[in-house]
């Protein structure tokens, strides 16, 4: 099934964004201290849907919040009551602008773990009610390697509407899902946006696929990092005992930030905040690089050393998740390397391990 594609220009896109923001609950990257984080916006001026990838935090917290309330409780002499918390602020119909392709793929990857066996209906509801607008990057950043992984950026359906910059200032809006298709048709402004199928204008209609391909080729040519993910998957699986994990993680300061900003990391902890007789239970992010992560109450810790935790992190991303759910738990966004105070990239670590001698 093919979905509609529209062609417009910079002003047309801005008009569309403005119309969306005025009509729908919209989230977009908002700058603070040079870093962009997704927040609810009320005008296009507040945000920048074209924020630089290196400076933009993941969109994951809009679906899997950094801290979400599980329940409230109250305990007094008449007994204990467990109360539903306030309404989920993220469950309503909404639009997110300016999501990066890799980041959107991260959500798709997370669907697998949230859908198997026990179904996380809250996560899936947030996903179902959100329309994602995603601009395809024109140029790769220093740490990007999305094209080296197991997904096709050209056809990626983790996003609902792809925005692609064409030649001569043309901008293509391509629906990738049924949800995106309906949304785009409902919100298109006929004075500035033209359906490539309907318009008679030859330049606008017939060449759009070629034009988008050209942008894609230029984009894929701009990558510094390239790898063969199949080779890495295969080799990593045989290197559980490799000393390369120790070498690659030696200058890690175990600050954990890589897991907190990763678009696919989904480990969490459950903690209670208690004030006298009432309390709130939260689900919040945790990191497998944290020494307490697997520390048992009895004092036993299966992963006391840093390299063991690194092994878990990189094997989970490139071996275990793949074995279990068929996809890599890494989307090649490079955020870990950007945020790391000592610039360790998961790319370098897995390649270093994969290229080390195999263990018996």
């Amino acid at each position: 099934m093919s979905f509609s594609t529209f062609v417009t220009d910079k002003t047309g896109l801005q008009k569309l964004y403005e119309a969306i923001i005025s009509k729908h609950e919209t989230y977009a990257p908002v700058e603070k201290f040079g870093k962009y984080d997704y927040k609810k916006v009320s005008s296009l001026k507040e945000c920048d849907p074209d924020s630089p990838i290196a400076m933009t935090m993941s969109v994951k917290p809009l679906f899997f919040p950094r801290a979400s309330k599980i329940m409230k409780y109250e305990a007094n002499s008449s007994g204990t009551t467990i109360m539903e918390t306030d309404e989920d602020p993220l469950a309503g119909k909404r639009v997110v602008l300016g999501v990066k392709h890799c980041d959107a793929r991260g959500l798709q990857v997370l669907d697998a773990v949230n859908k198997w066996d026990y179904i996380d209906s809250d996560f899936l509801k947030r996903r179902a009610n959100t329309v994602i607008f995603s601009t395809r990057c024109d140029k790769a950043d220093t740490h990007c390697f999305c094209t080296s992984l197991d997904y096709d950026l050209e056809k990626l359906d983790a996003l609902d509407v792809a925005v692609v910059n064409g030649s001569d200032g043309k901008i293509y809006l391509q629906a990738r899902t049924g949800k995106g298709d309906i949304f785009l048709k409902e919100n298109s402004d006929q004075s500035t946006m033209y359906d490539v199928q309907n318009t008679m204008d030859d330049v606008r209609s017939t060449k759009y696929e070629e034009d988008m391909k050209k942008q894609y080729i230029a984009f894929t040519g701009s990558f510094r990092l390239k790898m063969d993910y199949k080779d890495v998957n295969e080799k990593m699986a045989k290197r559980f005992d490799s000393p390369a994990f120790e070498e690659a993680s030696r200058n890690c300061v175990s600050c954990n930030t890589c897991a907190f900003i990763c678009p696919t990391c989904h480990c969490f902890k459950i903690s209670d905040e208690k004030i006298k007789d009432t309390g709130v239970r939260y689900k919040s992010y945790d990191s497998c690089n944290n020494v307490y992560f697997t520390l048992e109450a009895g004092g036993h810790n299966p992963r006391p050393a840093k390299f063991r935790r690194w092994r878990q992190r990189s094997m989970h991303k490139f071996v275990y998740y793949k074995e279990r759910f068929g996809v890599n738990l890494c989307v090649g966004c490079g955020h870990c390397a950007i945020s790391c105070p000592v610039n360790i990239s998961i790319f370098d670590v897995v390649n270093h391990v994969a290229n080390s001698p195999a263990s018996s």
């Binding site: 603070k32 201290f33 040079g34 870093k35 984080d37 935090m57 950094r66 801290a67 220093t142 740490h143 510094r224 030696r250 200058n251 300061v253 175990s254 600050c255 954990n256 930030t257 897991a259 907190f260 900003i261 902890k269 903690s271 209670d272 905040e273 208690k274 004030i275 309390g279 939260y282 919040s284 992010y285 945790d286 990191s287 307490y292 050393a305 840093k306 945020s339 105070p341 000592v342 610039n343 360790i344 370098d348």
Partner: protein, 283 residues
């Protein structure tokens, strides 16, 4: 400022003489002209070592890692780094005889964009204060400069100031990278990680971020050496120095111009008693 050659020679000699097991220094990034810390155990890797104005990270952070515990360590320290080292020494976190310290008479380091770092512009102690060997020409201790942001902050009232900080902490994601990258945060279990301390309890609400960062900064008050490892690690680019510099100024004004770790054996402002300490809070 380029001491790469000297440091390579010293490290090679230390390994050759069997004086160290590990050397902690800097090497070039594989992708741009910035540097990252490197922990060397193999003398062959010594050739990678560099030191220029891009050598930003405070390496004394590595003294709490598995790789250096109970080992003989060679280490490069700038002025600020040596101050944190001084504190680690007095707090019995490292043994002086296990260390071989290459001190740098630092001319200031630059950030990713090549701009001189703000803490270097305002640096009071550019020369390493504890070392076995000094590289560069010492410049001596400079006059105390009040941080520009703190002057601005001083103009704000208490309520306004609280609001200002709350607005900053809103972007905190509670990853605790600031704490982990701080050389002076070595507690086996930080008070903000204790399961029983329910107000901090890990969850990333803005109130818990506020509490956690405030508590953290107060624990470092009188000890922070303004190396800005925390800011470098913060994924949200929060101006964490505001907390520390504010504390530093209050302590400088009230505790006989105390600056953490400048003197050998310094215990931090709150850990020593002097008759000159302010007592006007006693009614």
């Amino acid at each position: 400022m380029d001491y790469s050659k000297q440091i390579q020679d010293i490290a090679a000699k230390l390994f050759a003489d069997g004086k160290i097991d590990v050397f902690v220094g800097y090497r070039m990034n594989s992708f741009d002209d910035n540097q990252i810390p490197v922990v060397i155990t193999d003398p062959k890797e010594v050739a990678e070592l560099v030191f220029t104005e891009k050598s930003v990270f405070n390496l004394t952070n590595y003294l709490k890692a598995d790789h250096t515990r109970n080992k003989r360590v060679g280490l490069v320290v700038k002025g600020c780094d040596s101050r944190s080292l001084n504190l680690l020494l007095t707090e019995s976190q490292v043994k002086r005889e296990k260390l071989y310290i290459i001190g740098i008479a630092c001319e200031g380091v630059v950030d990713d964009k090549g701009q001189k770092m703000q803490n270097c512009v305002e640096c009071i102690v550019p020369d390493a204060v504890v070392f076995d060997e000094m590289l560069g020409t010492p410049k001596g201790i400079r006059d105390y400069i009040v941080n520009a942001d703190i002057i601005e902050l001083a103009g704000k009232g208490l309520v306004e100031r609280r609001e200002y900080f709350e607005q900053i902490f809103e972007n905190c994601i509670r990853c605790n990278a600031c704490r982990h990258s701080c050389p002076l945060c070595y507690c086996a279990k930080c008070c903000i990680d204790q399961e029983t301390a329910t107000i901090y309890n890990g969850s990333n609400t803005s109130s818990s971020a506020f509490h956690a960062l405030m508590t953290w900064s107060l624990h470092l008050a009188g000890r922070c050496v303004d190396c800005r490892n925390c800011e470098k690690a913060c994924p949200s680019h929060l101006p964490l120095h505001l907390l520390h510099k504010q504390n530093e100024k209050v302590i400088y004004d009230n505790f006989q111009n105390h600056l953490a770790g400048v003197e050998e054996g310094d215990r931090g402002a709150f850990y020593k008693y002097s008759l000159k300490d302010p007592d006007d809070f006693i009614l």
